[in-house]
Point group: C2
Chain length 190, copies 2
C-alpha cells in the first residue's frame, strides 16, 4: 500500500535491534485518515471472507482494529494483558512474548466474546516473529472459532514470522512488507 | 445520548464497589457503530472549538479517541503506561491512580507530540474520580498546550470528579451521565 510505504519512509525511525519506530503516525500519535485508508484496504482484501468479528491485542492494535471493525460493520474484541497471576475460568488465555519489550504477557479474552462458529479477522499493527498472531490464533482456537485471516499494517519479512504462518496455511495480508532495514536508516520494501 | 443510555441499561453490569462493566460494547468487545455515533456527537459538541489534537490514555480510551480523531480530521495521541521506573527527558509524564484497578500508573507522552499552541480535546471512556482527566490535563499543561474540553463516554456523576473539574472551568461533555447505581442493578441517568 503505497501511501503507507511512503509514510514509513518519511516518518519511520530505525532503532538498534531491528526495531522500527512509527510513533509519529501509528503507535503513539496516530493519523486517523491513514488508519481509515488501511481499514478500507483490509475491507477490499478480506471483504468476501464472511468475517463477523475483528480480534486484536491491546494497546497499539486497537486503533486499526476499531476502524476495520467499523468498515466491516462487525464487533471488535481486544485481548487484554492480564494483571493477575490467577486466570479465571471465564476467560481464554495465552502467553505472548513481546519482541519489542523483551518480556512475556499473559493475554486474555472473556469467553463471552469468542464463540464456536465465529469467523475472525485478526488485525495488528506489526508482524515480526509472529508471536502475537500465534497467540491470538490460539485464543480463537480455544473458542472453536475460525481465523479466516490476518490483516497487518507493517510486516518485517526478515524476521520470518509471516512466512512461517503462511506455510501453515494462514491467510495474511500485510499493507507494507519490509524486506530489509539497515542501521543507517535504509528501508527496502518487498 | 439516548442510544448510549439504552445500551448501558441493556448490557451494563454493576459490580461491587461502584464499578460498571460495559465490556460487551465499550471496554473489551467494542461496537464500532456506537463508537462512530459517539464520535459524531463529540464533533457536534466540540466542532467549533478549534480542536487540532485528540488526547487519550491507553488502552480503553483508544477506540473512541481514534474515531473522534477521524471525524475531527486531527491526529490522536495516546498517553502510554510507562514500563520503566526511569522516565527519560524526552517525555512528559504524570502519575494517574486507577479507580478500577486500585493501582497507580505513570503515563507518558513524547514531547514530539504535544506542543505549545495545541488545542486539545481529551477523550476517554469513563469519568469517575477525574484522576485520568487531571493527569491528561497535566500532560497538556507541561507542553504549554490548551485543553479546550473533554469528551467522555460515561460519567459516574456520584463519584464527583466531573463536577469538581467543571468548577475549575474545564468544559466537559459526557454522553451518558449516571446519577446513581444500586447493587441490585438499577441505573439512573441525570
Amino acid at each position: 500500500m503505497k501511501v503507507l510505504e511512503d509514510r514509513i519512509l518519511k516518518d519511520g525511525v530505525i532503532k538498534p535491534g531491528g526495531i522500527l519506530k512509527v510513533d509519529n503516525f501509528l503507535n503513539h500519535q496516530i493519523d486517523p485518515s491513514l488508519i481509515h485508508d488501511m481499514a478500507m484496504e483490509l475491507k477490499r482484501l478480506f471483504g468476501e471472507k464472511g468475517v463477523n468479528k475483528i480480534l486484536t491485542v491491546e494497546a497499539s492494535g486497537i486503533a486499526l482494529a476499531i476502524m476495520t471493525a467499523y468498515v466491516f460493520n462487525s464487533p471488535m474484541v481486544f485481548a487484554k494483558k492480564s494483571k493477575s497471576k490467577n486466570i479465571s475460568d471465564d476467560v481464554y488465555s495465552v502467553k505472548i512474548p513481546s519482541f519489542t519489550h523483551g518480556n512475556t504477557n499473559t493475554v486474555i479474552v472473556s469467553k463471552e466474546y469468542l464463540h464456536e462458529g465465529d469467523r475472525i479477522l485478526i488485525v495488528d499493527d506489526f508482524l515480526a516473529t509472529g508471536a502475537a498472531l500465534v497467540g491470538l490464533r490460539a485464543l480463537a482456537q480455544q473458542a472453536g472459532a475460525e481465523v479466516v485471516g490476518a490483516g497487518i499494517a507493517i510486516e518485517k519479512l526478515f524476521q520470518g514470522g509471516g512466512d512461517k504462518l503462511r506455510a501453515e496455511g494462514m491467510h495474511i495480508e500485510s499493507l507494507a512488507k519490509i524486506s530489509s532495514m539497515s542501521d543507517d536508516g535504509k528501508i527496502c520494501f518487498a
